[in-house]
Amino acid sequence: MTVLRVTDLEVGYAGGARAVRGVSVTVGAGEVLGIVGESGAGKTALALAVMGLLPGGATVAGSVRLHDEELVGRSDAELSRVRGKDLAMVFQEPALTPVHTVGDQIAETVRVHCGVTRAAARARAAELLDLVGIPGAARRARAYPHEFSGGMRQRVMIAMAIANEPSVILADEPTAALDVTVQARVLDVLRAAKEAVGAAIVLITHDLGVIAGFADRVMVMRGGKVVETGPVEQIYREPRAAYTAGLLRSIPRIGGADAPRPRPERPVVLRVDGLVRHHPVLKGTLVRRRAGTVRAVDGIGFDVREGETLALVGESGCGKTTALMEILRLSRPQEGRVVVLGQDTASLNAARRKALRRDVQVVFQDPAASLNPRMRVAGIVAEPLTTHGVPASLIKGRVGELLEQVGLKTEHARRYPHELSGGQRQRVGIARALALEPRILLLDEPVAALDGSAQAAVIALLEGLRERLGLTYLFVAHDLAVVHRIADRVAVMHMGRIVEIGPVGDLYRAPAHPYTRALLDAVPVPDPLLERGRRRVLLRGDTPDPMTPVRGCRFRSRCPRYPMLPAADGRLCEEQDPSPGRETDRLVACHHPLVTIGAE
């Protein structure tokens, strides 16, 4: 039975952009329809049009029928009786009103639609919070949104969406802002919620892995039009449209056979030993007192050889970027040692440090924020050259060369950053980093802000540059599939520590630390059959507060292995902080690793 039928829908934004052009689609009762497409394909516009929540000035034509009732052209008052009752939506940003408690906001959702008492609505709110897996629901209902993590807020959004047992839930990128581990749990909650109320779900995402495990049917969109629609197996196995095939090819995948390669015997260009970076947390207005310490980086060590790529992975807040920034500072760390190209950063004088700066360059996550919006591309790329005193006569030629190296055309040199696409902007960032012919490139989530195809192209570029210029990369990322493609070695970070380090192939095939295992399990596989057949170990709880020190293993509260251990073994986890040994190629900081690692 069809619950939602969209026919020839057209959406135009004020300013003339035609976001949706003639889309027709149906959603059956209890069905999950996945909508994929690159950024700007009109996915969000479609969802907002169905909800009747497009911004002012937008025009809608065509028809949206829910249970055979037309929604297009209805008044706000009429639509508000449907919204949140029979048709609910979960947004990408879990945006809750900051000044009301989450319990009140859920209760409000219940009360606007049915005249139950305040107390009954409160009770229902607690019940819903419990359903979406918030521990201590009755107590947590009195918390304000800022006291919840991103994943918990998204679960509250789901709780509100199912509060009145709607027949359709629209979910627009519900997990795009979350870590993989959290994403996996939120998707599970969404699935459970769907089962509980029997709603149909329209899941919008650009992540084909998420769709594979979740959707029954898939609709591929591009430029406001439907490219193709079909059952999920068919779309993944034999897509009819070339565009879909290309989209599927561009996904970085984990897996495939890669033979274990021995580490090349090349000189170490970057060595980090027991590096510590603690941030004091201050409080008070007139008199500032130290209230605690965030152990952002708490004694990490690794080495990177010439031409090698080491990836630092982990959930948000685990200290990846801080570690990178500590290395980039090229000065004495709070504790530990950083040795760059054979020089200890603690002993550098200003002149030597400046010389070394040329060899270590950085590329940031957000190309839009890291490029000066008022400078042309040519000026941005030339900037490091001028600061390091390269004669003006040489600069122009060098800029052209650099742009060519990163696959930009000469005409791009005259543009401003906002006149480029996301992928092109990131290329400018890379060109700027390459200007001084560095030997080490520090990359902080260089492709996280890009969508599928742009991501694949930038990764290919980075790989090519590494070959041609003999660069060494330290690559920070949270996307394990991207890391699998580009890195030789991986270091997994958790709460300021490296819990496991090793060659990509070994580590992905046989993770030794329970945390690594959980991270890998959380990554959805872009293949419907494999994804559904998989057994996964998910993490319990969120990352603990980094300010409270933990005795013993700091992963214990979330470790899936710890509760299974016999009491005697478990005591070790409670009492001793497992530390990775030193100076080997594969290390794990766990008392009871999942696979034994041969002591070399």
């Binding site: 909800m51 929540l53 911004p55 706000d76 008052a77 508000s80 009786r81 449907v82 919204r83 949140g84 009752k85 609910a88 939506m89 947004f91 940003e93 945006a95 809750l96 009103t97 900051p98 000044v99 009301h100 408690t101 906001q105 409000e108 959702t109 606007v112 639609h113 304000y144 800022h146 006291e147 959004m157 509100m160 509060a163 009145n164 409080k283 008070g284 207005t285 007139l286 008199v287 209230a291």
Partner: protein, 329 residues
């Protein structure tokens, strides 16, 4: 929260002491009371002037540091010294403070409440007729100087009085001399308050209206308002319960401090309507070079910021749970 408030209060207390001292030093250093005495006709003999100045702790022949010490000791005992005429500053200060407060408190409360409401309404109706009218009105009010506004109001009131044939509005001074009976007296005082209060309220209204409209525009498209609508709230309800409530928070701080300072900034209104308040006194005292009076008024203004800050802290804490958490931690 109580501990947090006490800490903030202590911090502000230190600031008030600093501000008060600075005000005295500046006034004593810059103003020239000697000139005032010497300018009197007939010109008093030099020795008399000096004796008079010394008695009032105003003599510029005494080092500034020792004058300050004497003044500060007095203030610590709750005594702001004497005016040039030899009257105690304290009595005058209290009297005028009352006059100013009676004028500024209702004016600013009415003005800010109206401003917030109409500003928020204009934002919701952005670009439509109501928004245009409100925006044009508030810009006009901002552009018109207070004394022009006051004069216009007086003209309007006079026309109204004539039209009705009774004197409904009165605006000179605080009350009509010789109005009999306690009740009639109160009514008469209220009657005299209408125009000056309206002047202050209108000027405040324009500021608050502009500010609130801007704040409200920011939350109009906020994701949480959209979320609220997606849950089934009508646009108006979502904007009121979720949008306005959030957009009010930055306003509170502004409101508290602005009304703390309003005690002084009512000077034009006081002058025009013949009300002898603090603002008027400050201007007169500066022209006369009356150091002690100027310092006392400045101290009073600095102290007014204390309760204003306290009100701001309490209100923001009540409205914004994020602040509360920060305070408790």
């Amino acid at each position: 929260m109580a501990g947090f408030l006490v800490r903030r209060l202590v911090g502000r207390g230190v600031l008030v002491v600093l501000a008060g001292s600075l005000a005295y030093l500046l006034a004593a250093g810059v103003l020239d009371p000697r000139a005032e005495f010497e300018g009197r006709a007939p010109r008093p003999p030099e020795a008399v002037v000096e004796a008079r100045l010394s008695a009032l702790n105003l003599s510029d022949r005494v080092p500034l540091a020792s004058r300050y010490r004497i003044w500060a000791r007095g203030v610590l005992h709750g005594d702001f010294g004497r005016t040039q005429e030899g009257e105690p500053v304290n009595a005058e200060l209290w009297r005028r403070l009352g006059v100013s407060l009676r004028l500024s408190v209702p004016g600013s409360v009415i003005g800010s409440v109206l401003g917030v409401l109409l500003g928020a309404y204009a934002a919701v109706r952005r670009g439509q007729g109501a928004d245009r009218v409100i925006t044009a009105g508030s810009y006009l009010l901002l552009a018109v100087p207070v004394f022009v506004l006051a004069a216009l109001l007086q003209m309007a009131a006079a026309t109204a009085n004539d039209a009705m044939g009774v004197r409904v509005f009165a605006w000179v001074g605080e009350s009509t001399p010789g109005e009999p009976g306690a009740f009639r007296g109160l009514v008469d005082q209220a009657r005299h308050l209408v125009l000056p209060t309206a002047t202050i309220a209108l000027a405040q209204f324009a500021l608050y209206c502009r500010y609130q409209r801007g704040l409200m525009l920011d939350v109009l498209h906020a994701d949480f308002v959209r979320t609220a609508r997606a849950r089934g709230l009508r646009r108006r309800r979502a904007l009121l319960r979720h949008g306005l409530r959030t957009a009010l928070i930055p306003m509170i701080t502004y409101f508290s401090y602005a009304s703390g300072l309003l005690v002084l900034s009512g000077v034009f209104t006081e002058k025009i309507f013949g009300r002898h308040g603090l603002g008027e006194w400050l201007v007169d005292s500066i022209t006369r070079g009356d150091v002690n009076a100027v310092a006392a008024i400045e101290c009073a203004a600095a102290c007014a910021v204390l309760p204003a800050g306290l009100v701001s802290d309490v209100l923001s804490g009540l409205l914004d749970p994020r602040l509360r958490a920060g305070a408790a931690a």
